[in-house]
Each structure stands twice: as structure tokens, then as C-alpha cells.
């Protein structure tokens, strides 16, 4: 029987990665599995940051930092990244993308009729991230925005599974997660303004009962920015064609995003954002007290240039949706709020805010 090579990769498919984070006694987070294959690269680091205070009853374990990298800082047409992360009970993980942005490179034009067009169209880049979060474990996933280049096609599916096994103390044993997902208009410096062909992003949170295996969809946030250009392309043979549809549907924003908060660790942050939203000045309110001009409209009512909503949807989720004229504005706004409130810093350390 041949001896198994110790250098052999345990996974065959390119772009696949697996991470398992376990907590070894007494309180020692350890990566029991870490594999990946080109074009995906996973780096980890344990900064040794011990959470200052915690919303959880049991002592918090030090967070482990996972860097999600791709060669070239983005995805080429046909690339398929497939990352599976498991957080065992009581662990904490910070996931960031230290490359400034996730670039979605453009789908190549047809080479003089050599490639059949059907293949060309299906040749989009894809990313799927599947995270399982155990009891009292917490995930903080604040990545860079996705920057789709002109005529690119991209699809991403991020699935988060939280443990809903019935327990004696139901309020404290749930998992926690904080997930940011944002997409920009493209390289605005090069004049790109929602010129890509497709960007489809889906974030799902499922609950799973470990005893019975029953799964239930708790939240699905699905954004489809589709230029609907397939038919046009077929006729025109011109890959550089871009449709006005996405631009029209995102006006007036240059970046749109969603922040999902769930679980006891982020409860304070969630309340903070809800307060911030509900205490915004009323739109169209008038200063009746002013004697001179009773009809004068109040000044522009959103701080800086960010339009946002925060809503407590079902199952205790708080969902923040925002839109801003450009990436920097949104980044400063969100980074400002998260730093001011302090939960992310206290529970995960400064590095969790690396991308903001």
C-alpha cells in the first residue's frame, strides 16, 4: 500500500478552502483544519487580543483572524472561490480581505468567433462562502467592497448557519454574527459607473437544530444588479456594450450595502444603530417656531451623504441598508459608527475594522 504523501493537497478543486476553528481547553483557539488551493489563499493570525468585555456570560476566547485573499486581488471570469468555515462553540473569528477591494475582472470579449457565445456568457466569476457558527461563537466579517469592472459578471452566495438547538438557557447560547456586504459602481476614477453586466449577491442565514438536523431560513438578503444584456450581446457581438439599467436602478448612489447583525455579542451595536436611525431628523419637517419664514425646509436631513435605514426584522436580526454617492463616504460613515460605538473593537480588536 503506497504511503500517502504528506504534501498532497487534501482538496482537489481549485479555489476551494476549508477552515475549522476549535477551542482547545482551557481557552485556546486552534485551527484544526486549514486548506486552500489556487487562486484562493487563506492566511491566519492570532493577534493575541483578549476581549476587554463581553456580552456573553462565559469568558470570551481570543479572536482568530482569517485573511481571505485571491491572487491578483480579485476574481477572473470563470474563477470559482468556495470557502467553508466552521466555528466550533465558544470560538471567535474575524474575517477580512486585506486587498483594498475585491476586484471583479471583466469577462473577455469573444475572440473572432472562436468561442461559442453560450460558454462566454456562463463564464462568470463566482464566490461562495459557507460559515457554520456554533453555540456562543461569534463571527465578525467586515470585508472590502466588491468592485465590479465594466462588463464583468459575478455571483456570490454567502450562507451562514447558526445553531438553534434547544437549550436550557435559550437567550445566551445563540451564535452571533456581523456581516457586511457592499458593492460599488466600479472604478469610478476610470469613469466606470455601474457598467458591469451582472452582480448578484445573496446572503442567507439559516438556523439548524443539531439534534434533528432541521433547517429553517431566518433571513435572505438578495440583491440582483442585472443589466439584462444577454440578448443585446447576441445580436450586437459587441461585448463592450453596457446597459443603462443598473445605473438607472441605483441612482443616485455610487455604492450600496447591507450590514447584518445578529446575536448577543452585537446586541448593543444593533440597538445603537436602531437609535441612530430613529433619531434622525424628520424628512420635510418645518420649523414652525421660526417667526419669519414658517415654511423654510430644514437643512439636508442625512448626515454627510449617506442614506440609510436600520430595521429590526424577525428573529432578532437588525438589518442596516445604506447607499452613498461614493465608496469613501460610505466607508468613513460606517467606520465612524462602528468605532464610536465600540462593540467591534472591544470584542474583536482594532484589526476587525481593518477594511473600514
Amino acid at each position: 500500500m503506497p504511503v500517502k504523501s504528506p504534501f498532497e493537497s487534501s482538496i482537489a478543486k481549485p479555489g476551494q478552502g476549508t477552515v475549522v476553528l476549535s477551542l482547545l481547553p482551557p481557552s485556546n483557539p486552534t485551527l484544526t483544519t486549514l486548506t486552500y488551493k489556487y487562486p484562493l489563499k487563506l492566511l491566519t493570525r492570532t493577534p493575541g487580543y483578549v476581549p476587554q468585555s463581553s456580552a456573553l456570560s462565559s469568558p470570551a476566547s481570543p479572536p482568530v483572524h482569517l485573511y481571505l485573499l485571491t491572487y491578483g486581488g480579485g476574481l477572473l471570469p470563470g474563477d470559482h472561490i468556495d470557502v467553508s468555515i466552521t466555528l466550533e462553540p465558544h470560538t471567535r473569528m474575524v474575517v477580512t480581505t486585506p486587498q483594498g477591494s475585491t476586484k471583479i475582472f471583466k469577462t473577455e470579449g469573444r475572440q473572432r468567433g472562436t468561442l461559442p457565445l453560450a460558454k462566454n456568457i456562463s463564464d462568470k466569476s463566482r464566490q461562495s462562502v459557507d460559515v457554520r457558527i456554533g453555540r456562543e461563537a461569534a463571527l465578525c466579517y467586515l470585508p472590502d467592497p466588491s468592485v465590479p469592472f465594466a462588463t464583468s459578471r459575478y455571483e456570490q452566495l454567502q450562507t451562514f448557519t447558526v445553531d438553534s438547538t434547544p437549550a436550557s438557557k435559550p437567550s445566551t447560547n445563540t451564535s452571533s454574527l456581523c456581516v457586511l456586504d457592499w458593492v460599488t459602481q466600479g472604478r469610478s476614477a476610470r469613469g466606470e459607473n455601474w457598467d458591469f453586466h451582472l452582480w448578484r449577491g445573496k446572503n442567507e442565514v439559516w438556523s439548524e437544530d443539531q439534534n434533528t438536523g432541521a433547517r429553517k431560513l431566518l433571513l435572505r438578503d438578495s440583491l440582483v444588479l442585472d443589466g439584462e444584456v444577454d440578448e443585446l450581446c447576441l445580436e450586437a457581438e459587441d461585448q463592450t456594450i453596457s446597459s443603462e439599467l443598473i445605473r438607472e436602478r441605483t441612482l443616485p448612489h455610487g455604492v450600496v450595502g447591507t450590514l447584518i447583525l445578529y446575536g448577543p455579542v452585537f446586541e448593543r451595536l444593533a440597538n445603537f444603530l436602531m437609535d441612530r436611525f430613529t433619531s434622525q431628523p424628520r424628512i420635510g419637517s418645518r420649523n414652525w417656531a421660526s417667526p419669519a419664514l414658517g415654511v423654510e425646509e430644514s437643512a439636508p436631513n442625512y448626515e454627510s451623504k449617506v442614506t440609510f435605514t436600520a430595521a429590526r426584522v424577525r428573529a432578532g436580526f437588525v438589518l442596516v441598508k445604506f447607499g452613498a454617492d461614493e465608496f469613501e463616504t460610505a466607508k468613513d460613515w460606517l467606520g465612524g459608527i462602528l468605532r464610536e460605538e465600540g462593540t467591534v473593537f472591544n470584542e474583536f480588536g482594532e484589526e476587525a475594522l481593518f477594511c473600514l
Binding site: 438578503d221 440582483v224 424628512i283 420635510g284 441598508k321
Partner: protein, 301 residues
């Protein structure tokens, strides 16, 4: 089960096509010999065919007097107007409204039509569809509007339509009737209005699909009337928000442009599975969510 249902759907579609062919033929006959004999009227269709044609249910469900309370919702129009005030000099309020209507129809189709069609095609999945739509609606304002209209539709079914349509279900209606009854029981037995509860909610889109199936509508009509009712609600809100007058609203409603837009969006979502339904107009969620921040409001959404 699935195979049987689709055969019946096809049978109904064939009956519908036959009726339309018959109708067109008789009109052709009328047109071709109208020169010779002008007293020849369109003959009455045969009874066997008319009984399958769900015209009566169609008229009931497309009636703006159907008590669903849709008039209370502007689907984000009121907030859109407030957010885009003052308008630039080059843009008139009607142009701005046209933009909203287009976005609103596209967004309603992409988020709801897959659920309407899925419920129509698989009425037994109603509970699951209701949960998934609830999970997929990120905006609480939209959620409230959808639930209120869905529950109103169940109310109308129970108090008005059930007597006629549950007693003598149409070809495919029996599974739909069972699905509505089961869901309605579920809705009554689960606690009301608890924020964290994950019980059945009663969202409008899937219930619309099932009720239309129970009343013998065909797939296309179900989706079309759903979208048309949405357009009507938005236009009615526009009239009441003084964007335009009632005649102008009616002319938009009657326009070929609106018909094509609705048909085009339905075609686009015809094969979309519910898992892929999603928001295609992200600012609409923002406008709708921020409706709560308006200083004065005349609508519930």
C-alpha cells in the same frame, strides 16, 4: 402530484387558447362577410367552453373595490417624493413619477412574482413560501404592507369567496383550497404580532397565487392581475398625493407602455426560482424604510 397538476394547467391553457382561437375565427367570419350581410352578429360561444373561462373570477380579483385595503399603501411613492424634493428645474413631477413607476414595477416583479408563481404552481408549499418571503423582505415597512394585504385576502376568501369556490372547486382548485384552509388555521392558532416569532405571517404574494388558483385563474392572468393591481395602487396613491389628476393616471394605466412593461417584467421572472428572487432596485428599500422618518404621512407605506 407535480405531473398531474401541470397536466391540468396545460389543459386549462389549451382550453383558453381554443376559446381565443374560436373568438378570433368568429370575428374573422364577421369581418369577411360584413359587406354582404351587416345584420350578422358575433355568435354566442359554446357553453362547454365558457364554463372553463375564469372571466368572472378575473373581474372579481382585478376590481379596485376588492377589500384588501391596498389604497392605504403607496409602495414607497410618498417617501420617494419627499426624498427627491425639490426636483431639478429640468424634471417635472410627472417625469419623476414615471421613473418611480418603472422602478416600482420592476422591483415588485423581481421580489414578488416568483412567489406568486411558485404558490400557484405548488400550492402545498404555501407555508414554506410564506416563511421564505418573510425572511427575504428586508424592509419592515414593506413587510407590514404585505402582511396586512395578505391577511385581508384570507379574510375576503373566508367571508366571501369560499362559499362559491370551495364548494365546487375548479379543475386544479382543490389542492389550493386545502392549502388556504390549512394555512388559515395555522395563522389563527399561532400567536399574533410577536416580533421574534417565526410563525406564519400571511404575506400577500404567495396567498395571491393560491387564491387565484382556487378561483380557477390561469398562471399568466394571476401574475398579470397581481402586477396590474400594484400599478393601480401606485397610480391611485399618485393621484391622492397630488402628483397628477385622475384622468392622467387613468391614461397611464391604459397605456401600451404600462402593458408592455408589466408583460416584460413577468416574462423576465417567469422561470426565476424563489431562491433567486431579489431586490433589483436597492434605493427603493431605502426610500421605503425611511418612510417612517417622514414628518407628515398620508399613507402607511
Amino acid at each position: 402530484m407535480i405531473g398531474k397538476a401541470s397536466v391540468q394547467v396545460l389543459e386549462k391553457e389549451i382550453a383558453d387558447l381554443e376559446y381565443r382561437l374560436h373568438n378570433a375565427k368568429s370575428r374573422l367570419a364577421l369581418a369577411s362577410d360584413s359587406q354582404s350581410d351587416s345584420s350578422n352578429y358575433l355568435p354566442l360561444p359554446e357553453d362547454a367552453i365558457t364554463s372553463v373561462i375564469p372571466t368572472h373570477a378575473l373581474l372579481l380579483l382585478s376590481d379596485s373595490a376588492l377589500p384588501l385595503g391596498s389604497f392605504a399603501y403607496s409602495s414607497g411613492l410618498e417617501s420617494y417624493l419627499a426624498h427627491n424634493k425639490p426636483l431639478p428645474r429640468s424634471v417635472t413631477s410627472v417625469t419623476s413619477f414615471h421613473r418611480f413607476l418603472k422602478l416600482s414595477i420592476a422591483s415588485m416583479a423581481s421580489t414578488s412574482i416568483p412567489y406568486v408563481l411558485a404558490a400557484f404552481r405548488q400550492p402545498e408549499d404555501l407555508e414554506c413560501l410564506d416563511n421564505d418571503l418573510d425572511a427575504s423582505t428586508p424592509c419592515v415597512v414593506a413587510q407590514r404592507a404585505s402582511i396586512a394585504q395578505g391577511r385581508a385576502l384570507i379574510g375576503v376568501w373566508e367571508r366571501a369567496f369560499r362559499g362559491t369556490y370551495a364548494a365546487d372547486p375548479f379543475l386544479v382548485g382543490s389542492t389550493a383550497v386545502e392549502a388556504i384552509e390549512a394555512f388559515s388555521d395555522l395563522l389563527k392558532s399561532s400567536p399574533l404580532d410577536t416580533a421574534d416569532a417565526l410563525g406564519p405571517k400571511g404575506h400577500f404574494a404567495p396567498l395571491w397565487g393560491v387564491v387565484c388558483l382556487a378561483m380557477g385563474m390561469d398562471t399568466r392572468q394571476t401574475a398579470y392581475v397581481f402586477m396590474l393591481n400594484h400599478a393601480k395602487a401606485v397610480l391611485s396613491a399618485a393621484v391622492r398625493a397630488s402628483v397628477m389628476g385622475p384622468y392622467q393616471a387613468q391614461s397611464i394605466l391604459a397605456s401600451k407602455g404600462l402593458q408592455d412593461m408589466i408583460a416584460d417584467r413577468i416574462d423576465h421572472e417567469w422561470d426565476t426560482p424563489v431562491e433567486d428572487a431579489g431586490q433589483i432596485v436597492p434605493p427603493l428599500d431605502l426610500w421605503m424604510g425611511r418612510h417612517e422618518l417622514l414628518y407628515s404621512r398620508i399613507f402607511n407605506s
